[in-house]
Symmetry: C2
Subunit: 228 residues, 2 copies
């Protein structure tokens, strides 16, 4: 029987490729989408489409409203999404779209699900190249979470080791696009835009859109993204 893995699936490009890596490695993949107060339904629908496309063994959606805490342009309807350039990020600081402790929350939920279903492997699509401004995308964070998982759980106490896989952490976006194409993923199913319109079409101007478009361009892979 295939070992189980939990893959966090946001509906974006990176998490789809990370989940596909889990499948390619022979895991039975259980997808988890966390609705943490993002502003748009388009990415949740994309996550469902990706989970079906990857033939995940299960796909759970769990809601937790981090938006009620404030502190991020990504969950605060009143805060502007940075366009064209994010001044803080350009200066090497933390982007306005940083959601406080987001990946800690996401991974803790993935860990809870993993322990409940007997999985010991977690897959996460974080990337430290294009998202170097996010503290919780760095290898130091991932290593600290893996250490935590080993003392936080019944399985860990009983001697089993949780492994946190971040197969994209050191890849460029072009490498991620190439890898996705090589794994046969229909990348048109994924959504990356921070600020899509009601029909789910990408803005083409936010940081996430610009990084994604450049990735396809540099990879020499046709960009299937629908812009408004």
């Amino acid at each position: 029987m295939a070992r189980r893995a939990v893959a966090l699936l946001s509906g974006g490009l990176d998490s789809a490729v990370a989940a596909a890596e889990a499948r390619a490695a022979g895991f039975e993949v259980h997808a988890l989408t966390v609705l943490y107060g993002q502003r748009h339904a388009a990415e949740v629908e994309a996550a469902r489409a990706v989970a079906r496309h990857l033939r995940c063994a299960s796909h759970r959606e769990v809601a937790v409203d981090l938006g009620s805490f404030g502190g991020s342009a990504l969950t605060d309807p009143a805060a502007p999404i940075p366009r064209d350039r994010d001044e803080a990020a350009m200066a090497g600081g933390i982007p306005a779209t940083y959601v406080p402790a987001r990946n800690t929350v996401l991974l803790s939920l993935a860990l809870s699900l993993a322990e409940a279903i007997g999985a010991r492997d977690l897959f996460l699509g974080v990337n430290a190249v294009d998202y170097s401004g996010y503290p919780d995308c760095r290898p130091a964070f991932l290593e600290a979470f893996e250490r935590l998982a080993r003392v936080a759980t019944k399985a860990g106490v009983e001697g089993e080791e949780f492994r946190l896989h971040a197969p994209l952490v050191r890849l460029s976006k072009a490498d991620i696009v190439r890898r996705g194409a090589a794994l046969g993923i229909d990348l048109s199913l994924t959504r990356s835009c921070y600020d899509p319109d009601a029909a789910g079409r990408a803005c083409g101007r936010c940081d996430s859109c610009r990084i994604r478009a450049r990735g396809f361009r540099e990879a020499g892979v046709p960009d299937p993204t629908v812009y408004r």
Copy 2:
């Protein structure tokens, strides 16, 4: 201006005393109650009453349905709550009421709130004496989470240190009752039972009830708990 702290408040005895310690230490206390799929509303109402009683600066409730993951008698309506004795716990194992990675999820949410509101101190009522069977109540877990918090956050990256306070971690239940009484907390507002009736009255038989009752008895403090 008083420094801010986030205190996780479950409605139980221990978290109420931990939050009162935060107040006694001079913090402006922001309470957070996580509705993680526990079976009973009584403890949420207790958390609200305790937050008012302690004059917390704010009290947020955030829902995240860990019950949908399965794996615990505490969140699964179909699983029996252990009565009189929990065979696994008696054998030095993990109790049936263990919720997979619960405290990791709770602390990650507290960390997210703390970062959003500018708090650097988290208070948690975990106890490693009476709950030695729960992996995420042990000092090793708390230390690993504190290390994680320092690399997981914008504030941490910018050199500020998060501190995780677990003032009860090495106290007996009798010590906790005494400390609560000394801090002037109305302990009748708190609820500990895993299996209360519809009116919120305690069963008197689950592990949590038995540990609590013994704590009051050994502390020589009148037990205000209403049993059915």
